[in-house]
């Protein structure tokens, strides 16, 4: 009995570690940027103008990474579109950064699904790297002080959107 107990005491923690730690997806890990200043970026929009995060200081900013080839992004697009309309009168910036995709495909996507937010082009993926993006969709909520308050991995729901915007406005 003692030997079995000893065996279980050693074997079970190893099994637990192998099952739950090594199999964890990096996307489940919390972002290293939470509570830290959001990396600044200045990117060209799909319509040729420019968007600077630094110039948005003082306003909450929602930064969404997406692509036309990402199926969940189609559902999320509707959530972003609804939020853009709902919070139109509030000083909130919602921007969608195109990830590993082409402007032409983004244009076609907008023609089909409508425009949710200004689309920013991150051609060298530098902004994606700066935000530690490990897949899409990923959404970062940045408060008025320019600090990342929350990162959502996967499809945004209207509930999460409302909850996080309420927190951003409160601050």
């Amino acid at each position: 009995v003692k030997k079995t107990l000893l065996f279980l005491l050693i074997f079970l923690p190893i099994l637990y570690f192998l099952t739950f730690s090594l199999s964890r997806s990096p996307r489940d890990l919390p972002s290293a940027l939470i509570g830290k200043e959001a990396p600044l970026f200045e990117l060209t929009t799909l319509d040729g103008s420019s968007y600077s995060l630094e110039k948005a200081r003082g306003r909450p900013v929602i930064v969404n990474f997406w692509a036309t080839w990402c199926d969940p992004c189609i559902y999320e697009h509707e959530v972003l579109r609804a939020a853009s309309t709902q919070y139109k009168d509030m000083e909130i910036d919602i921007v969608a950064i195109l990830y590993e995709d082409t402007p032409e495909k983004a244009q076609a996507f907008i023609r089909k699904h409508g425009r949710a937010a200004p689309i920013l082009l991150d051609t060298d993926l530098q902004t994606a790297i700066d935000y530690g993006v490990s897949g899409i969709p990923e959404t970062f909520f940045i408060n008025t002080e320019g600090v990342v308050s929350y990162k959502h991995t996967g499809v945004l729901t209207p509930e999460i959107m409302d909850e996080q915007i309420a927190l951003l406005i409160k601050k």
Binding site: A32, E100, D124, L125, I129, D130, G132, V133, S134, G135
Partner: protein
């Protein structure tokens, strides 16, 4: 009709044909030159790195986890994100950053998860110590069992 005849005559004039060929040769030279300039611009970044720097970039890249792959380093991944990350590594080497600074750069963005070799500090120490501790315990366990049987 006469225009057509003149045109045929011009085309058959050997001097004119030679001039035409000369222009064509010049044009080809210009085009080849332009292609070379564009191609050289494309590889200028890579050629600025010395062999030692390229090897250092590969070594650093082999210690950074590709965020969109399963357990492979960025220097082995064909994923666009990994390729861009390797480019960042090379750029940072060029700007004189140390290995530690480059690892820190990625750790700040992706967290410690990005490092394939965890740092030997804090809780991570257990990752380095525990395997040896288990090995030692196993050896003691086997020796004690062996002695007990004797």
């Amino acid at each position: 009709m006469s225009n057509l005849i003149r045109h045929r005559e011009e085309r058959s004039d050997p001097h004119k044909v030679g001039r035409l060929l000369r222009y064509t040769r010049n044009d080809i030279l210009i085009i080849v030159g332009a292609i070379l300039v564009i191609a050289l611009q494309g590889v200028s970044f890579a050629s600025e790195l010395t062999q030692a720097q390229i090897e250092r970039a590969e070594e650093i890249g082999s210690q950074l986890r590709c965020p969109v792959c399963r357990g492979i380093p960025i220097n082995e991944s064909p994923a666009e994100l990994a390729v861009q990350m390797m480019k960042v590594v090379k750029e940072q080497i060029q700007t004189g950053k140390s290995d530690e600074e480059i690892y820190d750069y990625f750790e700040k963005r992706y967290g410690e998860w990005a490092l394939l070799k965890p740092k030997t500090k804090g809780l991570n120490l257990s990752l380095w110590i525990l395997p040896f501790a288990f090995l030692l315990l196993g050896a003691i366990f086997i020796i004690l069992n062996f002695r007990g049987r004797k």
